[in-house]
Symmetry: C3
Subunit: 285 residues, 3 copies
């Protein structure tokens, strides 16, 4: 796709969400539920957070997209998460997976192993999480190494092979979040710049991004939905950082900007920084 | 009651809460707990969120009012909710019910059926929820139709009969939230205007309203408590919308206004828009 | 320690946290998780909230500090909390306990009794909670009396003996929060003034304070960590109250100030109000 084609598709997604107010239900961590829901509403979507397996299955059938964030695993997730993912897969409902906390417990590992066959449509995480998931699914070689809680210890560029492998396997898109963001569907690959260091000083930026991608997934193909979420977050972050001097006011401004940004701004201001090799150079510089 | 009598009663409720700092414990959804609690504190009340059946029973006995919001149903709600409602009923502790998510699962349906005998003092919901509850309790005829998650698909006016039926049955009050808000105790009926479209662009406005009604219920009769909550929310929303350009800053301003509004403002600025027929005309126009 | 020694130690703690971005995982209530995490991030730390016993045990082994807040007790806390506290104790991982809701149910009482042998490194609570815990652990005489939910019904000064007894027993520090704050390790004792009445008009100030103490506990001894948290909260509260007119904008400003305050400000502006007897006089006046 050309820059212009991507831009037009982004603008369509941004506008269509604002017109249709689509719902993307979530199973998401209890820390940042409020932020996720408010971000989904700010871009024009609708939110519903759920815990019970039968409710998730019911919504999986009738919703246009779904979001699963594994953050604060609860005891009953052993039942809720696999049943939901299965229902999503069987009903061909596209869904976004944020494998946050991967490797932290056998429960998470068991659930994430089961998710392999239910093929999440978009996988979003930091570099460490994306690499860990690709290893867990035996899509890349496991050379060891450890993941530290919810924070990334890896550069975005180090997750390129893992992201490609995951996208090829699922047939969807993978978004690796970091200082720069990498999005691929296994063929197309782009780098998005922007955002703000303040995003790492508030909790839930990544969670909210996954939730917003699920909203865009109700109206757009996986790659465009992933880029739309990434791009509007970067733009809103850049603007908010210019308006705020500290994290809490940044967060208010960030959500406000998600609401205020025009489709044209999203279409014209996303930046394909260059090839992955450029990024690699960038990170070394 | 005359407009002036209602106004005086509202002013008394607003002032008494600020003087007494009364506690109204809640079982409420995990998404918006923080917003509910902060709204309760902003109007002068005190908040405590609970999950365990025995803790809720204990608090049901000693509290002046209680709030149950069914939002994010958890597995143990099957035990906690009926036991709490029973304790509230047996101790004659007034309570507010927000039947959000009604119809989403058999667990919710079972719990809401049990609630019929424990008669919530105030029922607050959007038109779809109020109609669904009146049908579930066989208080109005069930002509079919479906509820879509947490969003209202019905006009406020369409819930008039359901609201009346529920209020007559419980002996309390029913508040139907929407673009205009309808409150009735089965005899009195008022319409409140105001608020802001931004309220639909943040999550939890309805949840917070139910929590604030529970605070007012500690010092006022059900109808006045429901109108007090509705009125202060509409006023705070109108003011906040004039101060903010987007949802997140609206939310901050909204909570600030809940704290700053005077009892006089609440007493003098609530607006009985007119008869229900007026509203119906209004909605058609 | 002299005022200057304490000041220098505080400055070191504030700077070291900002340099190292240390993680202090939490088991904390669902109402204020977002505020706790954002406060931890604002002072320079890293946050991860957990529910599952095995995940907490795993993190207890590898983390430099941990935070347990008993706020919204969930059914599985009966397993998670004692196992986590045991793991913390066995691995000599320092941890902060906020015994909020003490006395509300037999589950809480059972858990808190078990915590006695696992000796929390810092105990933070309001006067009522500190007194109740010292009674529960039979460290002071139980002359009866009751605790009202999450709110303090006691003056800070009334908890002096309880705080001393707890600190002597654990070998750590105890922080009693109130209009003035009292911190002791059983030998040193200081009073910190500042903060704002707005802190009582938002939910979670105390919870967030406990979480921030856990962050400082990753780099400082218990007494300094407790004073650092208390001091930066008081300073941020005082500044925020001067910038805001109401609770919600206060909260935004408060978090911003946690991020913006310099180590020098924390070191130079904490105020040891005087002896405990002074405080007692102060409260009577």
């Amino acid at each position: 796709m050309t820059q212009q084609e991507i831009g037009s598709a982004l603008a369509r997604a941004v506008n269509e969400v604002r017109e249709k107010n689509p719902l993307a239900p979530s199973i998401t961590n209890t820390v940042t539920q409020d932020f996720v829901a408010n971000a989904q509403l700010a871009v024009g979507g609708s939110a519903a957070m759920l815990y019970l397996a039968d409710e998730c299955e019911a919504m999986a059938k009738i919703s246009a997209a779904f979001y699963i964030n594994m953050g604060t695993a609860l005891p009953f997730y052993a039942e809720t998460l696999p049943r939901t993912a299965k229902a999503l897969h069987e009903n061909k409902t596209p869904w976004v997976l944020d494998p946050v906390g991967i490797g932290l417990s056998s429960l998470r590992t068991d659930i994430l192993k089961k998710f392999k066959e239910f093929k999440p449509t978009i996988i979003r995480g930091n570099a460490s999480e994306i690499i860990s998931l690709a290893k867990l699914w035996s899509l890349i070689e496991d050379s060891g190494g450890q993941v530290r809680g919810v924070d990334s210890t890896e550069k975005v560029s180090s997750a390129k092979a893992a992201a490609h492998a995951l996208a090829k396997f699922t047939g969807g898109a993978v978004a690796v979040s970091g200082e720069e963001d990498f999005v691929t569907d296994g063929t197309e690959e782009i780098l998005c710049a922007g955002g703000s260091v303040f995003s790492t000083k508030i909790t839930g930026s990544g969670c909210a991004l996954g939730g917003v991608m699920a909203i865009y997934l109700t109206v757009a193909e996986p790659f465009i939905a992933a880029v739309a979420g990434t791009t509007i977050f970067n733009l809103a972050g850049t603007k908010a950082a210019a308006q705020a001097q500290a994290p809490a006011s940044f967060k208010v401004n960030f959500l406000d900007n998600l609401y205020l940004l025009t489709a044209e701004e999203v279409a014209n201001n996303f930046r394909i920084v260059g090839s992955f090799e450029d990024m690699f150079d960038f990170e070394k510089a």
